[in-house]
C-alpha cells in the first residue's frame, strides 16, 4: 500500500472516498484487504480467500470512524501495552484514522473531572466498548475504584449504549491471575457482569496485538463480530491449537524431545513437551501470527507454552513445568492422548459455533455464573502425582 499519507480520515467521509482522495489505488487497497483476509482466513469461511478479500474491501469502504471507550479495570496494563505493539494496524494509524479513541486512561490527555466528562459524553452515544481487567465483586467493589466509583458500576454505565462489548485479555475474559485461587477480591470477567448480550473475548495474557486490532477491523468492516468459539473467542485466532502449527511439531511426531532446558535436544530445536509445554491444550494464534510483528513466540524461543489463552490457566496449567495431566509417557500413545485432549476442546468449540445464532441463550446461561469462578487449586491436591513423578525419575 502507498505509505505516503497526507491526511487522516475525518469522520463522516466514506472510507472509499477518503482512500481515493489520498491516492490509494483500488489495487493497493485490495492488496491490504487480502493480507487482512489471510489473517481472518485462519478459520474456514464461505467463499474462500479471494471472495473474502473483496468482501472486506467493500465493507471497509463504507465504514465510519466509530467512538471507542477502552476501559481499564482491575488489571496490569499489559493488554494496552500489547495493543501498542501492533504492526498490522499500528496504533497511531488506529487512533488517528480508524477509530476515535475517546476514553483510555493510559493515553488520554485529561485527568480527573475532565476525564470523567469525556467518558460521560462518550457513554451517551453509540460506541464500541473495549474492556481490560477484571471486575472485583467482593465487598461492594472496593478493590478497584475509578473516579470514586467501583469498576462494576463504571462498566455497567459504559455498557448501556455500547453497540458491542469486547473483553480484551484474560482478566476481562474471566479474571485471570487475581481470579486464581483464593480469589480474594471476587474477580470475574466482563461477561459475568454484562449478561444481556454476547461479549466477544480476546483471550490471552496478554493477547497478541494483532488479534485485538483485527477483531476491531472486522467489526468496522462487517458491523458484527467474527465467528466465535464456545468461549466467545474469534475463530480466526482461537480456532486451532498451537500444537497444530508449531514449528517443533515434526520433532514431536518423530519422538524427539528436550529432556532438560538447553540440553543437546533443546539445542537442536526439538519438542518441549517433556518440559511442560501446554501447546497441545491451548487454542491460540501464536504459531501463525506470532508475537511482536511476527518475530517469534514462546515455544519457538525455547520456553514451553503456559496455556495463557485458556480459562484459569493459573490453576489448570500449573505446575507450569510439569506435563499436562493424563499425558502418557512419550513413545507410547502420546499423540493419541494429546489429540484426545485437543479433540475434547475442539468439540466444545464446535458446539459453541452451533449455538452461535442463539447468542442470547449463551448470555443467559452465563448469567448463572455471576458468582466468581474459583476452581480447585490443583497444586495443593497433586501430592499423589508428585509422588508418582518422584518414582518415575
Amino acid at each position: 500500500m502507498n505509505e505516503s499519507m497526507d491526511d487522516g480520515w475525518p469522520g463522516g467521509e466514506g472510507f472509499r472516498d477518503y482512500l481515493a482522495r489520498r491516492g490509494v489505488t483500488r489495487r493497493d487497497f485490495l492488496s491490504f484487504c487480502g493480507r487482512m483476509a489471510v489473517l481472518f482466513g485462519a478459520a474456514s469461511l464461505p467463499g474462500g480467500g479471494r471472495a473474502f478479500a473483496k468482501d472486506v474491501a467493500e465493507r471497509l469502504s463504507g465504514a465510519k470512524r466509530p467512538s471507542v471507550i477502552y476501559l481499564q479495570l482491575q488489571e496490569c496494563t499489559g493488554c494496552v501495552e500489547s495493543l501498542l505493539r501492533s504492526g498490522s494496524s499500528p496504533v497511531d494509524r488506529l487512533i488517528l484514522e480508524q477509530i476515535s479513541l475517546d476514553y483510555n486512561e493510559l493515553l488520554m490527555a485529561p485527568s480527573g473531572t475532565a476525564a470523567e466528562e469525556v467518558l460521560k459524553e462518550a457513554e451517551g452515544r453509540p460506541h464500541l466498548l473495549l474492556v481490560n481487567g477484571s471486575v472485583p465483586l467482593n465487598d461492594d467493589g472496593v478493590y478497584c475504584t475509578i473516579g470514586g466509583d467501583s469498576a462494576l458500576n463504571v462498566l455497567k454505565r459504559a455498557a448501556q449504549k455500547a453497540s458491542a462489548v469486547i473483553a480484551v485479555g484474560a482478566c476481562a475474559e474471566y479474571g485471570c491471575v487475581q481470579a486464581a485461587s483464593p480469589n480474594l477480591t471476587g474477580a470475574v470477567g466482563v461477561s459475568d457482569v454484562i449478561t444481556d448480550r454476547p461479549v466477544v473475548n480476546i483471550s490471552g495474557c496478554p493477547p497478541i496485538a494483532e488479534t485485538i486490532t483485527a477483531t476491531l477491523t472486522y467489526y468496522l468492516a462487517y458491523g458484527h463480530p467474527p465467528p466465535l468459539d464456545g468461549n466467545g473467542r474469534p475463530l480466526f485466532a482461537y480456532g486451532q491449537r498451537i500444537h497444530d502449527k508449531c514449528p517443533r511439531r515434526a520433532s514431536f511426531d518423530a519422538g524427539q524431545f528436550a529432556d532438560s532446558f538447553d540440553d543437546d535436544n533443546a539445542r537442536q530445536g526439538h519438542c518441549l513437551y517433556r518440559l511442560g509445554c501446554k501447546g497441545p491444550a491451548t487454542f491460540a494464534p501464536c504459531a501463525t501470527v506470532e508475537w511482536n510483528m511476527g518475530q517469534s513466540f514462546p515455544i519457538k524461543a525455547g520456553h514451553p507454552c503456559l496455556g495463557c489463552t485458556e480459562r484459569h490457566f493459573y490453576d489448570r496449567m500449573t505446575p507450569f513445568y510439569e506435563r499436562l495431566p493424563g499425558f502418557m509417557v512419550p513413545g507410547l500413545g502420546v499423540e493419541a492422548t494429546a489429540n484426545t485432549i485437543g479433540i475434547a476442546a475442539v468439540a466444545a468449540s464446535v458446539g459453541g459455533v452451533a449455538v452461535h445464532s442463539a447468542a442470547t441463550v449463551i448470555a443467559k446461561k452465563r448469567a448463572k455464573k455471576a458468582q466468581p469462578e474459583t476452581l480447585p487449586l490443583a497444586v495443593l491436591g497433586d501430592t499423589e502425582k508428585r509422588e508418582e513423578q518422584d518414582k518415575k525419575t
Binding site: E105, A109, A114, G147, F261
Partner: protein, 571 residues
Amino acid sequence: MASERIVIDPITRIEGHLRIELEADNGRIGDAWACATQFRGIERVLQGRDPRDAWAFAQRICGVCTGVHAIASIRAVEDAIKCKIPPCAELIRNLVSGMATLQDHVMHFYHLHALDWVDVMSALKADPAATSRLAASVSPWPNNSATWYAEVQKRVAASAEGGLGIFSGGYWGHPAYRLPPEANLMALAHYLEALSWQRDIIRLHTIFAGKNPHPNYLVGGMGCSINLNNQITVNQVRLDEMAGMIDQAKRFVLEVYYPDVLAIASFYPDYAAIGASSPNLMATGESAWSCSGAPAGGVFPAALLMDGNYGTAHPFDSKRVAEFVSSAWYSQPEGDRQGLHPWQGRTEPRYTGPKPPFKQLSDHPKYTWCKAPRYDGRAVQVGPNARIMVAVAQGHAETVQLAKEGLGKLHAGIEALNSTLGRTYCRALESVILARRMDQWFAQLNERIKSGDTATFNKERWEPSSWPKQAQGMGFMEAARGTLSHWIEIENGRIARYQAVVPSTWNSSGRDPGGQRGPYEEALAGGGKHPLVDAKRPLEVLRTIHSFDPCISCAVHVLVPGGSGVEVKVR
C-alpha cells in the same frame, strides 16, 4: 480565598489506578493525599505454588513494568535454592531488562508525560519549516523535514475533524503551557515516531523470551538455547536482528529522547525547584541491574543519601526496611503503629474506607491500598533520580560527567535532581548510559558465543528434591521506576511466604504513624510552594505526579499470612 479540597481521579497516563486529593489556597498546594485504589492480591495467590512458577504469577503484577517482577522473582528463588546461572543467561537477562527499561523510559516521556508540557493544539499552528530548523539546532536526527512536520500536522488536524480521540478534553491553551508552537510540533512528531520505535526495538524480548509484554523467564537461566547451527535457536540471523534493534534503540535515545528532554526543560526551568520530595534517596545499583541475595551493587555499591545531604552515601542494609499500614487498608496482629520487615509481616486486606461511589477518601485515617515502606523510619524516594544522585555521590565517573553536562545546560546544582524536572531529566540521562551498556552486554555475549561458551541453563538445582526443606531468598532489581525487591520463603518445595517491595510502593505510599508523608504527597505539599493555578485543570499536579512514572498495580501488594510454627529469622 478559602482553601479548596480538590480531587483528581482518575490520574490518567499512569499504570494502574491512582487518586490524588489536595488542599489548595491562593494557587498553591497546602496538603496532599495519594490514594491507590486497586488491589488484586497476587502475592496471596502465590502461596502453595511451585517456586519455579512464581515468576509467571509475579510477572502479571505489571504489564508496563513487564519483566521486572519476573526477574526479581527468579532472583529470589535462585537466592533461596543457591542456584548460579551461566554467564550467557546473565547477559541475556541484562539485555532483556535493559531494552525494557529503555523502551519504558522513552514511552514514559512521550506517551505518558509529554502531554503535560506539550500543547497539541498549539502544534497545529506551527510553521513546519521553522520546526525543521529548530529540530536541526538540537539534534542530527535525520527524520527532520518541513514535509514531515506538515504531514504530522495534517494527520492530527484531519483526525480532529472526526473527534479528538485521546486528545479530547485536554487542557489545551492552559497558561502553564510555554513551548512555542514549533517546539510543540517537534514533540508531537516524536510522540508518533516513538510509537513506531518502541514496537520495533522490543522484539529483542521476542527472540530471547518469546513475547512482549510478559516475556518468559526460567529459574536457573533462560529458556532459549544458543546454537548457530540450528534454524530455530538463537543463531546468526537472530543476533544480526538484535544488533539492529540495539543500534536503533541507542540512536533514538541519543538523537531524539535526550535532546528533546533538554530542549523542553529549557522552557520550564522553574520546575527544577518544584516538586522536591523526600530528602532521602535509595538505589541498589544502576538501572536494569539485578541480583540474587542482598544487593552488593554493580558498578557502584548499594547506598542511600540521607536527610538532604546529597554528597554522602550511606551503605544499604536490607534489615532497616519496614512497612507500615497506618494509612493503608490492611490489618496486622501487631497493630497499626508497628512497622514490619518484609520477612515478618502478616498482613490481611481490610478495607475501612467508604462504600463506593464516594466523594472523598482523605477525611478517613486510612485512604489507600498502598503500604508505607520506610528505611530507618524515613520516607525514601527511589527511581532514576535516586540512582543518578547515588552514583554521583559515589563518584561514578561516567554518571558524574553526564550529570555535570546536563546540569550545566540547566544552570542548576545537584539538588535540582530532586524535583519534577530532575526526575524527568534523570530518566533521559540514565538512558544514555544504559544504551551504552547494551552495546557492552551484546559484545560480551558475542565473545562468549565465539569462544563456545553458550550454556543458558544450570540444571543442578532444578529439581525440588535438591533443595533444603526450608529456604529464604531475596532478589533485587533496579527497575525503570526504582528499587524493586522480591522476598520468598520456601518450605518442602512450595512457596510459604511471598513479598514484594516495589518502587511505586516507596514513592506512592501514604502517611506513616508519625504523620510523615509519602514521596508523592511530599512532592506536592512539602514546603507549600507547589503551584496549582486552576483547580479544574490541574496541569501542574500531573507534571509532578507523572515525573515519578507511577505504577499502582505494582505498588499494591499483600503479604502472605505466615505458616504455623515457623520461626522466621531475619537474614
